[in-house]
């Protein structure tokens, strides 16, 4: 029990930076796959490896949370933050693995667009996480949160436009079912990035 007091707080910032780096790696691998217009076995393996490493990083945060008596911010906020970041990585992995199952492994301009917005948003999430270490970064952190919210709105409009196109032009129902799910999941990644900002805003205001 006593030991708990000796775990250094700063630890959590290190762990979150490690975790968010896997989200950045996943978003960047995803963008590369989409712009190459090809998901091959190597690409699939790469995204799965990132997902597994991300899983380990998440569990390390949960373990540390359960072992640590004094945390730099509220336990439920640490838990929620780790869960949302894990969710970002999981959802990117799900998109890729579903595209393989659906044999949608060739290029698609809408997915290129989504992958660019996702990469931008996840990069902003990484800046938020890195900025949280020092309250003097507050205004940059808030700027990145605003940017993530803006990108979620961009994603919403993209999803609406892309759904409109899909239902207007795709006459094969099974192909339509596949793309509808993939586009929806792509937009969901941006929703989850926005959820991260909600957790972060809660944390920051409590510290104020």
């Amino acid at each position: 029990m006593i030991l708990r007091f000796f775990v250094k707080e700063a630890n959590f910032f290190d762990l979150f930076e490690k975790q968010v780096q896997y989200a950045v790696d996943a978003a960047s691998a995803f963008k590369e796959m989409m712009s190459r217009g090809l998901i091959d076995d190597a690409a699939l393996r790469k995204i799965r490896d990132i997902e597994h490493a991300g899983d380990d990083a998440t569990h390390m945060i949960f373990d540390q949370l359960n072992k640590t008596f004094i945390t730099p911010f509220d336990r439920e906020d640490i838990h929620a933050l780790a869960k949302e970041l894990d969710n970002v990585i999981d959802t990117i992995n799900t998109i890729v693995s579903r595209m393989v199952i659906y044999k949608l492994t060739a290029g698609n301009k809408n997915m290129i667009e989504f992958s660019l917005v996702i990469e931008e948003s996840v990069s902003a999430v990484a800046r938020v996480i890195k900025g949280m270490r020092d309250m003097r970064n507050l205004s940059q952190v808030m700027d990145s949160c605003v940017e993530i919210n803006r990108l979620e709105n961009v994603g919403d409009s993209m999803r609406d436009r892309v759904f409109g196109e899909l239902f207007d032009t795709e006459k094969d129902p099974i192909t339509l079912i596949k793309w509808k799910e993939i586009y929806q999941e792509a937009e969901t990644v941006l929703d989850i990035c926005e959820d991260v900002t909600h957790v972060v805003e809660t944390i920051l205001v409590k510290q104020a």
Copy 2:
């Protein structure tokens, strides 16, 4: 920090009443659109304006929650309640905007039925929120909660019946995909209203 103590508790009741009024407005605009059998640009704009105003009301509650030291009930319950009420408005807005994208903008008797049940349920939610201000209203609040639960069961049966009809009669798969999603979302509004009652029951019992 000291300032926090001066924020009056009653504030939250005002903020929730404001927020729930947007839910009532959304449900009533939705019912009107469904019974007119037409979603035109003016209707679409109206529901989006309500959604934006609802968003602002929700964020005001979150801001206030973060600034207030003493709250009339547990912070997590205030947060959950604001989130569920926001969810009611968002889901109604999503239904309308998806109907426009899917070009399902003409009348449909099932949606008229759903919109009537949704309006009843959201009105009951508003009575619950207004009643919470004063514990002497307890039995009316509980009656409204029972009514919301009853309407959720009504919605479940409607969804099952309507799904049965849809899969029996709709031979065009793409049209079926569209309506399946719209009906499912309509029933979800009633689920969210029921989630509101769960939060409220938790709050009330803690006060007892």
Copy 3:
């Protein structure tokens, strides 16, 4: 208020054991239906009765939670555990009732496989719940959690394989829509069992 102190803690363990028994009953009725390859009216009624009884057991836990001052573990963990167990029963019931609506009431070998894995996982959940009563069971509880996680991975692979098969072989889009939803829900039961282990792990580590 004073009365609250007299509610015995052990009560919660009894209530959870009662609730998890309904989950076991639901999983076992589900397996029987799937292996008989027939959902008839009697089967449908049986699963609905279990679902209603499960609902009552869940509400009893919520009521008790609200009435009890001292709880054997954190209130939010009790709430989360009861909710996840209820979710297991609900999702099994939804699968059966959706299969009836979709007229998918004849045998399907994939659903037999899913129902076997679901039954195994829910049995492991029951062992976890029963083991929590006494910290000396800790290692058996942890073993069952590991087993539930393993079965969730099994379910993931099954879902991916079954989706692959479905999209490769099912040429009727409406039939594909139906099975896609049913398989997805079957896999979701295993996800929810895994969510139970997350709650339990949180509880156990706090007690350590």
